[in-house]
Symmetry: D2
Subunit: 362 residues, 4 copies
């Protein structure tokens, strides 16, 4: 499959940055799930450009649901979300028809699609395409809530500034849900924003780390090979533009531990099995153990910067230089957070339906 993720619950996305519409089809969710259009809109807002630290392109991102919902509830058949593009400035992209922006997909797209791709604004490779994922993800998040499964992502680092770690998951996840700049420690958040503005003022950009926790997942979900929970989540996460690393639990830090430090001891508390630490991130042998699933996602700095860069002309294969015009984000990490939540929800809905049947989340 190409633009489709998942099997029992799946999402298919479409659209280009400067095309008529973008959107998504979400298929396989149980019938009878309440579809809350206000919640969808609020999730869309979390993905939107925000003030001085984002692009000047502003899209209403009004989501229209044109199938799969009847009397405010899912029908069990495909739910289609469409979003019209409105604020394209295609004239900004003239030179980019043939000059490959470093760090972008322009060159690889021109090789793969032999020059027929819609290059305007990154076309189908644009981060804008994630808007469809966020719309579909909002319904997936609602589906998970029917079983009290909650997802929260915070900006663990941005521009070298670090947020505090997760503490009490219940209150932390709740506190993140409507923050447009999702940090646990607002002081850290202010420093991050300052770092983004400093980069913007230099015509440059910054990256960061996102940390996600999922509370409430039952134990026993996932496969030993090859659809481990790590496999299916990383598969989805690495398709989000700019993601270059994913780690679960203590991740790369485990490489430098000994087994006696890394192993999480099991404890039985009132008949419920828990672990005293959670270095494995809630996953053992690819399968959930009932503890929170925790992972971190590396987001590279936005490749669209205003400094002069060396590149090539994709038509002539000659060396040239490029100064990018137009409107771009000096950071996307605060906008990527809701995309991570969304694909996480979509993947987990699929895994739960595969494990417990198509009516489980209803």
């Amino acid at each position: 499959m190409k633009n489709t993720l998942g099997s029992s619950v799946s999402v298919t996305i479409f659209g280009e940055s400067h095309g008529k519409m973008i959107g998504a089809i979400l298929d396989g969710l149980a019938p009878g799930i309440h579809v809350d259009e206000e919640f969808i809109a609020s999730q869309m807002n979390l993905r939107k450009a925000a003030g001085s630290i984002s692009t000047a392109r502003h899209e209403a991102d009004a989501v229209k649901i044109v199938s799969g919902v009847f009397n405010g509830k899912t029908t069990g058949t495909p739910i289609t979300f469409i979003i019209e593009n409105q604020d394209q400035h295609s004239r900004d992209y003239g030179e980019l028809a043939y000059k490959a922006r470093p760090g972008h997909a322009d060159f690889t797209a021109s090789v793969k699609y032999h020059g027929f791709q819609d290059f305007r604004g990154g076309g189908h490779f644009s981060g804008r395409i994630t808007a469809g994922l966020v719309a579909a993800g909002a319904v997936a998040i609602s589906a998970l809530k029917t079983k009290n499964i909650r997802i929260g992502t915070h900006i663990l680092s941005c521009g070298g500034v670090f947020d505090r770690n997760f503490g009490d998951l219940g209150s932390d996840i709740a506190s993140l849900s409507d923050k447009t700049f999702a940090v646990l420690d607002d002081n850290a958040g202010e420093k991050m924003i300052a770092a983004i503005e400093a980069a913007r003022n230099d015509g440059d950009s910054v990256g960061g780390r996102l940390e996600t926790a999922v509370a409430g997942l039952p134990a026993g979900v996932g496969e030993p090979w090859f659809d481990t929970i790590e496999s299916v989540l990383s598969h989805a996460l690495f398709s989000i533009p700019a993601v270059k690393g994913v780690e679960f639990g203590d991740g790369f830090a485990l490489c430098d531990m000994r087994g006696s430090q890394a192993n999480d001891s099991f404890r039985s508390i009132d008949g419920k099995i828990v672990t005293d630490t959670n270095r494995c991130g809630g996953i053992l042998g690819g399968i959930t153990n009932g503890m929170p699933v925790v992972f971190r996602t590396a987001v590279k700095p936005t490749p669209s910067i205003y400094k002069e860069q060396q590149t090539i002309n994709t038509e002539t294969s000659e060396n040239t230089s490029l100064v990018i015009q137009g409107r771009h984000d000096p950071a996307i990490i605060h906008r990527a957070r809701v995309v991570v939540d969304s694909v996480t929800a979509l993947v987990l809905c699929d895994q739960l339906a595969l494990r417990f049947g198509t009516d489980y989340l209803a």
Copy 2:
């Protein structure tokens, strides 16, 4: 799919640590590829237990090919590899029928499979099951060589000791191919082995990082969504037992860079497009750019240690303690390296067949 990876070229694995046989079916490779049984045996040797730093369980790991090869060449139909288990000591596992080893899949398996799983030696979750992947991977590696695509993995760190980075890829990959402890700097390797032995002497274990480079891949392979090259490789890598992190190119280090540092400038040299750095790890927009694909894999320390650990009885849900008996590896990173090479080869054969057709690698 559960124990099957890939679509046009796929691998299906089976077996348990203490069952009769383990193995794999490799399907979809082009017909006419020479199957070199000596090369398969040499790859199996790289995965085998090695001296003082590995388990005392020794398996011949003789691979029998029982279908899909005719007159020494692939037929295009499923290639089946079977490997008999010979050196099981199932008596060592009595207590483990009901005590969950921390860091292992015992608990999650008992939840998922309701106690019906073959628990002996980790059963289907055992690292031993990777032997089938290595056998299949050896033929995939041979297939890639028909197009001069080469894969090399070294132990970047183990027990806190670091190897040097990749330099000249051609010679580095060649130098790694038959090393049982795959480092680029043998002095570093000796220190790593000392660290493993020290852990073993403490009844403990160590983890490490693997770094992989793939040279010779054509540009234009992979999908923007959701089957990015990062997605499909990480999917496979995270199904290798003990892997808890994967990063491409500069990975997590990119989080702390600015865009002007992170972007790889394009250069045209004699009509061939290259980048001057390779921080993106040869992948832009999910698609290969013709530069080497580079990634790192985090391997947690082996969870089987000899120290007393706190755990629970999976039958009674009571707290208990456990001292693991039997034969175990104080480190598996040197054995995991060929598994990483193997799944990488399998994934790339699939991607190339999807892109260029089923006869491409022949």
Copy 3:
């Protein structure tokens, strides 16, 4: 997968009979294929209600392409087709919210979706949903023409009247391409139409057989197990509403032959291998042999009839009777023909891309 067909080239459909929009996403076609909007419109016309022998519901079926086409050509990324519903008469369906129409999916939908399905006009089960398949299929048909592969379907029988068999395929396929009532022998067609009208006048309906031929397919496409060409075509054909049988070549008639009659002898003519008969329908061992692929599809009579029928109330499980109101087709076979052509084209594009790579049809 649920509403998605195919893997390398895939189609995903959405919508309900009385919803806002229906449509399809076509993914994986090669870039650079000319998208002929006039041809799409003409294919849509073939599916439309036609005069006295069809429903009185008239939809403009104007297809908007909102992604995946740039400068009149495919980009290689998902092509999205949307079609607005305009002529719904939802008031006609009041009683059908709880009375299951015999022969329809009302009862099975209410069991599967627990009553949350959009029941109006059959909802997602409506034949109307095939409009999206026809739009996507039109582009697939154009893609196949780049390799001179042609598909033609005629109404082999309707209401007990039979058309002549295929003769010269080149001219027969050409003659069918723009007929709204696709028969090879127009006299037979007139009798069929008379049979439809007679049924309509009785408040009843008729069924029929469609026969399809595909000329120009290369030999060597398909798999021995389980994706035989018969398997993948029948999979798609049996998802068209009202299809209850599919046979290839001489099909069920082969059951009563001896091997000496049924076998097609091979002949070499000017270096090209052909068979003297084509009882196998161009497929041996699941793989194309270079002869035309020929199959027949059984279409049951339209279940919406105006006679009183016995049924049950799906809410109370009580027995009741039903007289269907509203606008319905006394026959759909003439409209189903282009749907068969469309899914055939979609399946073959997928098979060819899997075999020869994603750039083959361009």
Copy 4:
């Protein structure tokens, strides 16, 4: 996927007629299902060559289960079945290395696999490969019995002689279960056997129709698009060698009915919804309606006959003639019956697991 069928419950097959082993991997069945090796052996017997009406090749077909079963029960991980080939007479096939047998896959295999296929005895295209399906299918049949779902197939016609139709399903299915020549009316069976012997004496062969009924399936299983129950069953059935037609319920006979005849009226009897007829074969809108699923499968006459036939040399593309030597079946329909039961069971296990979760059949 190529040699893999199904997603939640899947089967992968391997092997060649004259290779070392054939077999199958069955993955995804619930843990805890009793594996009855005697039942597997009895199912294998039903597929075996039988006396004067079958090939003289006799294989023990002893099935070894080498993974996935522990203490006599399924573990939930892949179950591997291996069967050694023992009675190959490869010398019989010398000429067939380059002469394509009419009606066989020799020619299409040589095109697809460029001459690298194992041609001996039909290689991977041999009906012998179905032995792995029967072994796997036996366990799937046992799994279905845990929910009282029963499958029965009889030879509806052979050599032009017809069996009676299904009557009381419970007793008919039971009566078929251990018949080596599965007819409901033993007089008809004797006439069929006489027809097979007559064909054999002429150096010829015969075909026939199989009719299958599945009792006990719950309503609400299957998808409207594209995985209708008809789609997924026909997909599997058409991969059985020699199958050229599949019809559900009244199938092709529906083409000549009017809607008022074809529609099955619903009736509520003691709160259970049934239909008074079952012309739709238990499937409406692609979804089970709780009535028996009924279908017929067309099996062409065995292509290996002893009469001289015209063909080509696949190496030189020259015309030649062929008289097939060796041991062949004058009919395979009586052996194919258990293959139909097996793939039906495999497909239904998959559908039920997708619908109700992986623990449903246990």
